[in-house]
Amino acid sequence: MSGEIDAVYIYDEHNAPLVEHIYRSRPPSAAAILPLYLAHAAPRPSLLYLPGTTPPVTVFSTIQSNLLFLAVSEVDTEPLLVLEFLHRVVDVLEEFVGAPLLSSKIQANYDVVAQLLHEMCDAGVVCNTEPNVLQEVVEVPSWMGKLLGGITVPGSTSTPALGTANPLKQSLATASASQGPAIPWRRSGVRHTSNELYVDIIESLSVTMAPSGRLLSALVSGTIAFTAKISGVPDLLLSLSAPGGQQALARKFELPVFHPCVRLARWRERPGELSFVPPDGRFILAGYEVDLLPIDPGLDQPPSHMEKLFLPAIVDIRKSLGPSGADFEVRLTLNTDFPGQTSSSRPTASRSGSGTSTPSFLGGGSGSSSGPVLEEVVVSVPISKYVRHITDMQASRGDAQFSHTSGLLEWRIPTTRDAGTTSGTATLRCTVSGYPSPDEDLEDSLEDEDADANLLQGYYEAPTSYDPSSNSTRKSRDPSKRKKKKKKSSKKSRTAEETGDAPGDGPSEEPVKAKTPSPNHSKPQTPQPMALAQPSSQLPAFFAPSSTPRPTPRRTKAQVNASLMPNSASVSFSVRGWLPSGIKVDSLTIDQRRSRGLGESVKPYKGVKYLCVSKRGVERRC
């Protein structure tokens, strides 16, 4: 176990090697690694061991904006260290090269990329990943630099204008370097003409619902992103609040992680107060999670009292509809009555909330709207790969698309304001059709098998395989009840079969029977001779001749279609200006006493943004 990285490779969207940076020894080249990496099936694990290369290597991978980042190591290396490093590489490259990382941008800035990769890891040992420190060491030939004649002007606009004189800058560097950085994450001598501070709280919601609609879990994972464009060495205090006061916040704000700049002692003393000297630029200040549905793990009974949970979008799915059971219906309920963030004590509890909820923006928000906005509503339904295509997609709102390659039915619902109110219910009804030939063959054999099943029926309840009602009764956990119910249900199913399903499958079954494969042909006949041969009453009753010799075929079209039905649906959405946890930014202040290099009169512009994201997060099983 060690922490050594032999090489970092970056591939572009067409899997062509883009960057190949080798740190130590002689690992296999980027071109040699790639086919071995791609040889693994599609969702590839982030750690792969390739014993076939010389020397054998472990490959760590992450994919960011269509670029594939690989790190290679010959020896046992802590996987999370390598992956963290790769993510830092991504972050740093984005910071230096520009936000969505594109292969063209990287190619245009190869010298910067080289310097960064060289600086971040020294001979396989990760050594320097703080963006602020890297800014001091690696200089970007910015557009400004180019204007001034390509001579080294510090790339970031914020540094004091030193002109083109290198010595001066060097002497500054000398000063800071000889003493060691006072604050390892903040670069020295930050100057900004306009001072700005932004807090973005992003919560991603993931909710699981049982088929009955009962909530199984509701988790929120939150991130506080911070943008500091402020001169000198500011000392900031960010206080958060949640409905219910500081105690509630401490309880809610579970399992937090913090940027090293946050004073942990202060947080422990007074939860909700983040005191820190920020790095310059954009960074993740903290991460946390909130369990919106805390259930005691030792609980024996289903929780009697459950907090009501407000969800802006709920999806429901009903399947096996229509005459042949080939339809399913997705029902989406949108609710934009966001519980009042200001008045109610518990944001999740009161659905009634005052309609005039306003997001709290400090010093003027960035959003244009006054209330939370529900956007990008997409319902995704994973479709079995046995489904050939989906016909008849009828959506009451929006439009649906089925992509066979991803096996996903996506239904987008427009939520723009002009389309009227977003709240309400929308439905999508689809008809599936499977692949005909192999399924029908299967049908035959199974159908013949079922003959036997019925023979044994008198003794033990015959399996009522497809009837959903019987299936549900079987789930009942009481064994004594179960038997009775099953008997009933089996009868029910048989009648249903005879009455309801028989006409439906009649015509389609006929040709099928004709080409019944021979191997199983003898099966249905077995019971009869047996029964004759052994009339003894001592035998178990299931051999009794009472059973019907030729039962009705059981595997109907409905059954086939039932196997094609989706078994879950999930909805993605984003809400600007609302957080499911109810956490808010109370205040963001600059501690003037402790801050340096910032004029007393400077009043930085402060902005707060709340965003709730659910990436296929609200999931309904069925």
Partner: protein, 836 residues
Amino acid sequence: METISRISSMLETARELTLEAAQSAASNRSSKVDYGSRTYSASHIKKLLDSRQEREVLDGMRRVISLMYYSEPALTFFSAVVKNAASANLEVKKLVYIYLVHHAEAEPDLALLSINAIQKSLTDQNPQVRTMALRTMSGIRVPVISQIVSLAIKRGCSDMSPHVRKAAALAIPKCYRLDPNTLPQLTGYISTLLGDSQYFVVGPAVTAFLEVCPEQIDLIHKHYRSLVKKLVDMDEWGQLATLRLLTIYARKCFPHRTQKIKQAVTAKSFYEDEQDQNDQSDGPEYEVPILDPDLELLLRACKLLLQNRNSAVIVSVVRCFFYLAPPEYLTLAVGPLVALLRSPQDMQLIALYNIVTVALKVPKPFTKYIAHFLVHANDPPHIWRLKLEILTIIFPHCGKHWKGVIISELEHFSKCTDPEMVRESVRAIGRCAQGDVATAGMCLRILLNQISSLDGNLVSESLTVIRHLIQQDSSSHTQTVIQLVTHLGITTNPDARATIIWLVGEFAGADPGHNIAPDVLRILIKGFTDETEIVKQQIVLLGAKVYLHHLLQNPSQESSEPATSALQPPANLGQEIQYEWSEGQSEEKVETDEVQQPEEVNEESEDRITLLWRYILLLARYDTSYDLRDRARLYKSLLASPSSTQLANLLLLAPKPVPHAPSPSETRKDLLLGTATLVVGQDAGIHGLRGYVNLPDWVELGQEPSASLRTEDIKPEATTLQSSMTAGERLDKALREYPSIPPRRHNGASAAGGMSGKKTLDQWLDEEEAETASETETEGETDSEEEETDSEADDSEEDDDDEDDDEEDDGDDDDEEDETDSESEAVHKEAQQLLG
């Protein structure tokens, strides 16, 4: 924790991003075309490099670096680039250095030309230049210069800039790789740097230690406490290395002591009975580990790291607690470990592997976070597989509510269309039943329901799990077997059929009261020719078993009243004859039978079961599969003489070992947390990946180094005061004294300088120059030092060798064990296949 890039992409609307991507894709296509024009011709670049204008040189260097990344030949520029190594321009220098590090190995002679210029930069007044020079020099992979590098490191170790000292620490492993003979000098440098007051120097020093001389644990003793104190303030990468080191150190230096603590008096009444029997103890004794105060110091420091943003640090802390600390510490770390599931998917996977390993040992604390492990529809296979496993591991430890939820979740997933998922979730249900007896019945019912499913895959998986459950508790499951028989008609899946038939032979044939086996056999024989081979095998086996049971129950009546026995159905017979055969009896019988045998053959042939058996043999004899024919022949000869059933009894009716389906990750249980080997598992080979070493065992009591070694010899006042503060506090202090220089700076400089004390910069530089002048001298000195230390080193190397041998021996033992294990397993399997 989310990364900033992912958060940014969430904040930007998707449309904006795709727009830009599309634009660039369009421009990319065109840029591919003008790619040739953007990078000039080789001669042009050479001209730029040779230019006297810095600007042009810089431009040229940028192009060379680009060429390098385009994997175009950039080696041709080597001489032109090397010339610029002495450039005064920092930017040019940086690029030249990057080029040198990349290509020096290919052109060692030319690279040597640059050494002089680099050496000059080592004494530059700008620490950044010194850092770069030291870094580059050690990075040039030309073994000849190892001594020069070693010297440069020596100077770097006492540089007053912590950045240079950090570079020196980072250079140590590189120097060692260049020439392992420099080890004695390097250990000296490491020792110096480990004592550095700057926390970001110590981190790389620890890394160097781990790479160069991990066995020389003696070096650590006097730095132990300061390392622990600095742990909180180091950067993440330093923390990782230090945690790695200190975990090993703790195992080697703190013996595992436990104390027996008697239970409190209040609990007495509960255990009154036991006390009566066991007078001398006042209640159950608990073994409580006694923590060495120094170990506790480490564990406390680790606790502060649990809010770290780096997931690797969290796992390292968990590892530290897992292997070193009493359980209450681990409980603290479980939450942060689970919180790693918030990170991007690639890290989730690794986190899950670690969670599984911890949960296998201490499942209880994870029940609190059970909601985190619910499988989502968009989880990729490698993620849901581990989530399912965790659910089953913590299943026995949660309340009925969650148990119900887990079971219905598993049931839900067992009905999905992905065959892999079906298999895993059915197996998971089986493991749930295995882990918690109370819910076993419920699980079995669910599985029995699955049998009637149309999904053959689900059916066969369910049956395998059912078989395991029945085998584990066969006495209470006779009814289940009968119930299964009813499914024989429905299932076409050969595996499922084979399993049911086997179960019938195993559990429904023995008990004379409910002997349905012969009837099942009879029905099956009708369709014998249409069955697949494995089913046929099982039918033949069932036949053999039925016949054997028949023989076992009937031999006596063959002699006494053969006529009636032959006519009566076997099930009935079984009830009549209920005495058991002890071995002695049967042997006697055998002897007596042998005499009578010839006369009885005719009568016996009328026996129905015998007829049935003959019929099976006949069917099998003309089967197309030679394997089946062989098996039939084997059974035939086994059961050839109805009187000597002993051998057949041993072979066919031997009690089968109860199968235990372990959690899939059970095989990884002993691998070290946080390693790549843990994730790769068995594929990594028996010793794990290269470089994988498990933690050493706890040191024996009495063998540990004295605690007094760890007392720091430096005057403690300043350092303790300073290091007891957290980074935040120190920062406050620093800011309070702003703009005067923060106190840490003083310390850094003085400690680094060592002998230099509080000199001014100029004085310091002067001395440095003097040093360069007397370089040759020092070189000589170090040589002699080296000779002295060489002998020591040899000794230690021998020791190392010994230890290595030991390790290898251990490994061999393991091999053997494994082999025998696997052998016995194979034998088992074969036997099972043969016998059913």
